[in-house]
Symmetry: C2
DNA sequence: GTATTATTAGAGTCATTACTCTAAAAGGTC
DNA sequence: GACCTTTTAGAGTAATGACTCTAATAATAC
């Protein structure tokens, strides 16, 4: 594997584990047992590393959010979308953790991200239209737009939410297992729109993702 | 006004305008035309300033999220809750901007925030129960829990969403006017649960908050 | 007015971190 | 093996920012 790829992989790993801000370029170099000079030979600065990782993330997500043209959507498609998207978010979880900071520091990335967001929103709306055409949900166009936006917000904020509200502050306590609660929440968003025909089946699907709500477990703190 | 209060006010203003990370303690002191030593006489460190601001924020929010005991909830109550909460979020918008960072840096604040979150979630659920008792919505207990959580996520993420997706990267472009879109989104969350009796009235209420969706305006960037 | 305490100034410290610079090594070509 | 390009090492720099330290000034008490 090329040094460039190794730098990207190591950066992604360290960013995910510790957050982008806590990981210095020297830190990345040390992790790979290479010199800082070597790292800067391959990337002109830290932002360039982040930008390259964003490109990976973007293509990963856009690959997932496609509506099959040759067939109608099925209930299990929705599940697959959610699982794949949440897994992608997990693999690049550092991004939405510090998104504002990253975008503010890099105007080019910001523009790129905005375009990416709008494309995603369109794709999500397409998926809802597909579900409607398949008779799984029944929903107006206006509600599709609003529902897609709510879905985007809940999905992209889910790990942030967990990190802020988990019992122990330990970041390592966040595991892919906690994806489940996020999937459950998105099911709730769409549930009211289910048609009679599919309501029962989809509700049973959702039941598989009932979270153990760890964010509600009591600890000794109280609010004055 | 005491120096301590002035430091808090100035910090809040600067944090909101520029983000907590960009505002140094020297910066705050300079803004007030006092010395850094003076600032550190009143607060032992930067975290202490943030903690004090959180206490203000917490009491502001908890004041708002109360269910009147002497009367039933009315449709306009819901509107008032949303407007007051979003205004509160606006006034302390730096908090949710960097919440993860703030909490990770201060275990005490983290514990306090967790307790605050859980209390808020209970209060929001109480409000939904109140709306159900008043015959405005019809919803199961399980859905109340999930809806309350989605509401929390959308509300607390709204400004983050805007900052990431607004057309121009300029932070000053964010104005209280953009609250409206957030209110609209939360209405959408609850809309499917409205009873026949109140559906029309609430939908009309929601129409007042149709956003000009500035995050969808086209610019010249494209996604490859 | 003197003693004591509360408040303020402001220069300075120390750690951090993104990034640079020079030169050496490795790899390829003929 | 001579020449050229690519890759690497690693010491060093320059800026930043949270925080400290000493001493001066104001406020208060008696």
């Amino acid at each position: 594997m090329s040094t460039k790829e190794r730098i990207l992989d190591a950066s992604l790993q360290l960013f995910n584990e510790q957050g982008e801000r806590k990981v210095t370029t020297n830190h990345i170099a040390a992790h790979l047992a290479i010199s800082p000079g070597n790292l800067y030979y391959h990337f002109k600065n830290k932002q360039a590393i982040i930008f390259a990782l964003f490109e990976r993330y973007e293509s990963r997500v856009l690959d997932i959010l496609q509506v099959p043209e040759e067939r109608a959507l099925q209930p299990l498609d929705k599940l697959r979308y959610l699982q794949d998207i949440f897994t992608g978010l997990w693999d690049y979880r550092f991004m939405h953790r510090d998104m504002e900071h990253l975008l503010l520091a890099d105007a080019e990335l910001h523009a790129r991200y905005r375009a990416f967001f709008r494309l995603c929103l369109q794709r999500v709306q397409q998926i809802f239209r597909g579900l409607a055409e398949a008779g799984i949900i029944r929903i107006s166009e206006a509600d599709i737009a609003s529902l897609a936006l709510n879905t985007w917000i809940v999905v992209t904020s889910w790990f942030s939410f967990l990190r802020c509200n988990l019992l122990n502050a330990d970041v390592d306590a966040i595991s892919p297992e906690l994806l489940r609660g996020g999937i459950y929440q998105v099911f709730t968003l769409e549930r009211p729109y289910l048609t009679d025909e599919y309501r029962e089946a989809m509700n049973q699907l959702q039941q598989q993702f009932i979270p153990r709500p760890s964010w509600l477990e009591a600890d000794e703190e109280t609010v004055g």
